[in-house]
Amino acid sequence: MADRVAWLAGWMLLALVMVPVALMVTALWQQSADVLSVGFLLEDPGRAGRSGGIAALLISTGWILALCLLVAVPVGLGCALYLSESLPADSRRAQWLGGVLDMLAAVPSIVYGLFGYQFFAITLGLGFSILSGALALSLMVLPLMIRSAEQAMRAVPMGYRQARDALALSRWGWVRRILLPCAAPGIAVGIILSAGRALAETAVLLFTAGYVLRRPDSLFDSGRTLSVHIYDLAMNVPGGMPRAAATAVVLVALLVALNLLVRRVLRQPMTEALV
């Protein structure tokens, strides 16, 4: 009897969670309906964002994302390699490093923004720029990248490591020809997840990449990402709601696409083994 009640209650809980989300999606869709079109993606914004599209923002977002990954992926891989190859799994150093990474992941994004502002924009003199924003963002994304890559590397079968030792193969040879290719799908997932995280971030970029609305001419120019644009249009620009909603739709669509890509990549290894 209790079970029957519980079963019904569960459905209500599910509705409680799903309904607001559905409402959210429809509300955004409705608000943006008039504005959303291919032109929206290709035009630059005008009148502080009240008119036009988001082309300049797509470009800035692209640059910041690319630079962020350019820094975070190699460093993340290096750190993951260190964790999985140089340190025995249960050593104190490995645990300690794991703790540091967890801490970094827990730091609020606005604090990363403060740090980025003080260190990149002011101390290093980069000012409000795509470079500042990308560097601050890469720090945020680093723990996620490291954890994904490390998991992928530890999943490489023990047998390969045994054969490597018995044949006295060099570490670099092992990493280059066996470890990295084997861990590649997991690492790719890590990169995609990091990209998704970076796209969703706003607070970090407010004081590092700045707010400028036009297309950036160089990496030292300020640039606005999609998420910052949504914030600005919603809070600071009267009449900016429809375009804020439209930008939100574009951003969410991008993130859903990335999510689907992850699923695709994760399914691949199974077909490889059957060759």
């Binding site: 809980l13 989300v21 959210m24 645990q95 827990a106 670099w172 706003t202």
Partner: protein, 284 residues
């Protein structure tokens, strides 16, 4: 170990680079703390006690953060009270009552978890705030913040609970089935209590993240620096404060904001360590 003299140059180089990378992560964390400290320490020493006052008037040298600390705490705690039970119970329901729904719902929840906070905030502004306004103006309030934040917490809390339940040995469930015990009973007496440390640890972690959330609360809380007299009153969180005022803050004002950043990082750090303890994670 293989003596270094017999290792090829490429290996020695690789080992060095890897060690640098490992050190880098620690450097970043240290760097963040150091930078914040350097900025905030003089201020804390001079005006430290002033933080706990209730008047935030930077123009007049008043840096009382108490209302904003309260704002952060109240919004997060209410959000947690709303979200955690829903998430935990839903996760348990998906595992034991509706297992066929589990995979699709978890997939949807993962998507939800990836939605940017600004989008949640946008929806809050568009729909939630006007709706609350119909009942009790002004709409932008503590309640709005907690509702939006709660909605953001649910996906992750759900995933964490699902993981914790997944770690329970199958034999508990089997024993319950063999004895024809009700699933509710099993959950209440055996499964949830056993998984409790993991679940609570995960929830504590989410609390930390809620405290650190900036954009969504910024967009729907009203941003008035005051002690709220009801859930419908506007509040300002510590995080929103930094985001709003950093752009034009100078000297002491600026430094006060850094101090509030330091406070945030200290609190989230402590919550993280508590979460480790609860989940039995050993991080030295």
């Amino acid at each position: 170990m293989i003596t270094t003299s017999s290792l090829p140059l490429s290996d020695r180089l690789l080992t060095l680079v890897l060690r640098l990378c490992g050190v880098l992560a620690a450097l970043v964390l240290g760097g963040i703390v150091v930078v914040l400290l350097v900025q905030a320490l003089p201020f804390l020493i001079n005006e430290g006690a002033g933080i706990w006052q209730s008047t935030w008037q930077p123009g007049q040298g008043e840096y009382g953060m108490a209302p904003m600390i309260a704002g952060s705490l109240f919004v997060s705690v209410l959000a947690l009270l709303l979200a955690a039970p829903v998430a935990v119970l839903l996760a348990a329901w998906l595992r034991y009552f509706a297992p066929r729904l589990r995979r699709p719902v978890l997939a949807g929840v993962e998507l939800m978890a990836g939605i940017p906070s600004v989008v949640y905030g946008l929806w809050g502004m568009l729909v939630l705030v006007p709706w609350i306004n119909q009942w009790v103006p002004p709409g932008a309030s503590w309640l709005a913040g907690s509702l939006v934040l709660g909605l953001m917490i649910v996906p992750l809390a759900l995933l964490v609970t699902d993981a914790a339940l997944g770690q329970l040995p199958l034999r508990y469930q089997r024993a319950g089935e063999a004895l024809a015990l009700s699933r509710v009973g099993m959950l209440r007496r055996v499964l949830l209590p056993r998984a409790a440390p993991g679940i609570v640890g995960g929830v504590v972690l989410q609390f930390g993240r809620a405290l650190g959330e900036t954009m969504a609360v910024l967009m729907v809380c009203g941003n008035v620096v005051q002690w709220p007299d009801s859930v419908f009153a506007p509040v300002r969180t510590l995080t929103a404060n930094i985001a709003l005022e950093m752009a034009y803050a100078t000297d002491d004002h600026r430094v006060a904001l850094f101090a509030s950043g330091l406070l945030l990082i200290a609190v989230t750090g402590l919550l993280l360590m508590a979460s480790w303890r609860l989940r039995g994670v050993s991080h030295g």
